[in-house]
Symmetry: C2
Subunit: 534 residues, 2 copies
């Protein structure tokens, strides 16, 4: 084992050390509960060290990339921390990706090895393309009946074999503070996936900051339901939990009754789920009440919950609710909508996280005063190191000495942040700027038959962009455009009302349930072209 003398090694910052130290403080505490399998901190630490030594033995070095394709599992966490301990860059694979995106990411990240669950192996192999750096495929749950060898030059190795016989002490590898911990590819609301480079320092600080902001302690038992390949579950919930020595309880796939049973059985204290899931949980709990008194905090992400739903959820569960708002580039949490603001400021996205300074700027990069809307920008050690192999995008996003979120918003007089829209979703129509979110809210309020709606600006000869509503109706319903427009005109200025409605059968969505506006904009780019030719 290498000996590293000197202060730099003593003062190192490594996300893997968060696990090592929680194991030292309370070795017997529950770290991960994955169905019938229960791992103490001592066990998770030892396993993770063995995996790290296994990778070292196969020649993995600081900066090598390892893909990780698994549902939520103890193996996912053990691998993530194993990579961290030796400076190998973890590249979580989005399970919704098919061959095109998968091949792009494996190639772009220069992945050398991959950890893949057996039942996802076939899907994973669709991402193979000639000339990739990929050599090793470590298969989780590799059965006795494992299929034949993979195509050359790939070696098929069982995941169990990777750690077998390895020592369980902390590997002694010098990993710089700003070394890359992960490449997280942002899923396709824009055209090509971007590789967000997250450093040890960024994720380490995010873990401590989020633990403070959510008042997480070693007594907490947190749910891991949302996909771990996504930064929110991984870095806003799991790494803070490991940092403080809390317990992570894994659930695969959402089902409201089962989740409530899990809350009771494992005495969960913190949930993390989407607003639509809380809606289902409220109904399930109202249908059959359980003792969910262990819950203290329910976290949701991406967007505010409608006021009446939030009130119903608070009434039903009696715990605090908190919105986490941010993006992959911020590792990810930028603001918290804290329990005490939820009812007094419905619709806001909260106040800045402990590591985050938030500004509102105009297009020239000037800070705007309270109350004025502009682009939301951040300063924070949690910000990404950059986009992988894309210096232009990196320079652009850091212009004016801020990280540009791409979100539009403003601060109110109480210092609470309000999100207006994705900046690029602001529609520029006839010289006016229109926030699509405002039109969407009016649509929901005007017609109960609308299940989902997005409003986009589509190219138009006269309006530059024409406000256009893309609508998914509830089953069996049809759209009465005239009646809807009459309703809308009472709620919106005329220039904000849609120029047309497009009814669809399904909405394209990302793995985390966000509607992919960019996909819709591309699909209907020519919608008004025919009209202008008429």
């Amino acid at each position: 084992m290498t000996q590293h003398a000197g202060g730099d090694f003593v003062r190192r910052i490594n996300v893997g050390d968060l696990l090592t130290r929680s194991a030292a403080r309370a070795p017997g505490s529950d770290a991960v509960i994955d169905g019938e399998r229960r791992y103490s901190y001592a066990l998770l630490e030892a396993w993770s060290n063995q995996l790290a030594h296994g990778l070292l033995a196969r020649g993995y070095k600081v900066g090598d990339a390892l893909a990780l394709m698994s549902g939520n599992s103890a193996e996912f966490l053990a691998t993530y921390f194993a990579c961290a301990k030796i400076g190998v860059v973890c590249v979580p694979i989005n399970l919704l990706w098919r061959h095109g995106e998968l091949a792009y990411v494996l190639q772009h990240a220069g992945v050398r090895g991959a950890v893949v669950t057996a039942r996802m192996l076939e899907q994973f192999l669709t991402g193979l393309t000639p000339g990739q750096a990929l050599r090793d495929v470590f298969v989780i749950d590799e059965g006795e009946d494992a299929q034949a060898d993979l195509p050359q030059p790939l070696a098929r190795i069982s995941f169990a074999q990777l750690s077998a016989g390895q020592v369980s002490d902390v590997p002694s590898v010098a990993v710089p503070d700003r070394a890359s911990l992960s490449y997280l590819y942002t899923s396709g609301t824009t055209s090509a996936p971007k590789g967000v480079v997250g450093s040890h320092l960024a994720i380490y600080l995010e873990s401590l900051g989020t633990a403070i902001d959510t008042e997480l302690s070693r007594r907490d038992r947190v749910l891991a339901l949302m996909p771990m390949f996504h930064t929110a579950q991984l870095n806003a919930i799991c790494t803070p939990a490991v940092a403080v020595g809390a317990c992570i309880v894994i659930m695969q796939g959402f089902e409201a009754q089962s989740l409530l049973d899990l809350v009771v059985r494992e005495r969960l204290t913190v949930l993390f789920a989407l607003p639509m899931m809380y809606r289902a949980l409220v109904e399930a709990q109202q249908a059959r009440a359980r003792d969910v008194g262990s819950l203290r905090l329910a976290v949701y992400a991406m967007a505010p919950m409608p006021d009446h739903e939030l009130r119903a959820a608070i009434d039903t569960f009696g715990c605090g609710f908190s919105l986490m708002f941010g993006q992959t580039e911020m590792s990810p949490v930028a603001t918290f909508f804290r329990p005490e603001h939820q009812l007094s400021h419905p619709g806001a996205v909260g106040t800045p996280g402990i590591n985050v300074q938030v500004g509102i700027i105009d297009e020239a990069g000037r800070l705007l005063p309270q109350g004025e809307a502009g682009e939301i920008v951040y300063r924070s050690p949690q910000a990404l190191s950059g986009y992988l192999h894309d210096q232009d995008a990196t320079d652009t996003v850091f212009r004016h000495g801020w990280f540009h979120s791409g979100d539009a918003g403003y601060f109110d007089a109480d210092g609470v942040l309000w999100f207006k829209d994705r900046f690029k979703d602001v529609i520029k129509s006839g010289g006016e700027n229109i926030a699509s979110i405002e039109v969407e809210k009016a649509l929901y309020a005007s017609d109960p038959d609308i299940a989902e709606v997005v409003v986009v600006g589509l190219p138009h000869e006269r309006w530059t962009e024409a406000v256009t509503a893309i609508v998914l109706l509830r089953p069996g319903k049809r759209l009465d455009e005239a009646a809807l427009m009459q309703q809308l005109r009472e709620r919106l200025s005329p220039f904000k009302c849609p120029k047309s409605f497009i009814v669809v059968d399904a909405m394209p969505k990302t793995a985390t349930g966000k509607i992919q506006k960019a996909v819709l904009r591309r699909a209907y780019a020519d919608h008004y072209a025919s009209e202008s030719r008429r």
Copy 2:
């Protein structure tokens, strides 16, 4: 104002940002209460920014050193954060230092300016020596009747003048993560003071880590009674409080009744005091009970509280008690003796802090297994950058890839750390290693007339070091050596019993109440010289 483009400035780590962000999250919250003066976070932030701009206007740059000589005050905190914001290194002055130490520190740190309270100015000026870099003296509470000018080349400027007319927005200065935040001179238990260089990154992480370990939140109201010039009050209590947006309540000088009144008046939630102070508080509360129900945590430092005193304090105050153990070089907290261990492991020093890995090593630098005693060593981003102008001491303290604490100890089977002694206080006598603390405990237990005792090894021709007890008796008592020795022999192996007793009238102590063993060792170095000539 300089514009700093690019990711480095966005991702910066600066202790001053902790204040900026707490002010943004909750501008109206109490930040500091200093007697009749109350400062909101918005006010403290604005003041601190104005001071920073005042220093910039006078040409202060990243790396310049500013001495700070004040009792606990709002000015102290405003100055500390002002320095942080612009990368000026803060050099807190120990108020017990007299001209020799003061002159040494001002010279050694290359101090360019000093912030000094008016009533301490005379004492401060005793530290002037020719050739110092010192130019500006900013005087707090400068009255109308200010004395004449200071000797050339010193400029005397009122502290109020420094910030007057300056803008209150955040200064835009690029300060590297590992830039020095402070030089903290360790007070004289060893011969020459050493300048411990603390970086922004180290103190930033310590602030977050300690906030998590003490479960500090914005609802807390913490006492600032111990001197702010000492790392424990400054970095283990005040900077974590600022990080989470808690309120700091200043008290100058300890008096038990007044402190209890302050707890009631300001609804204090967290205390930080010495064990002897808690003893006095228990007596005061038992004499006249107040409602101290706001208290949730009482922190003490340096050494475990005797079991019976701890139990009395817990009974009396009904809150958690927690020992912080560490040293200036660790910024400072290394381990916490958490409330849940206090009664089950009396006498231990706790489990590691969230940023700290603790090892026990032998003299060859080999890690020792659980249960074996050796030197306590740390790995942590909280560790000092180094000793100022002393590369040899820096290299020595970081040998073997660990920070060497100079403390001897071991881990028990529960993973709880036990302190045996300062490593250099282990007495090597007749081929045996003797922990002075063990002999001291036996002395206290054997003779109730002993008020204070320290046991040191003094040079001896036959024993190499002779175990020697230096004793302060309670008023009016005298030492019965024969009776005491008889008692001791029942408690200690013969080779651990003192070879002689030295009765003194007073013990030399540091500002934080530690007995200065080095001073005693020097004073009595020749104690056995005469004997050996007999």
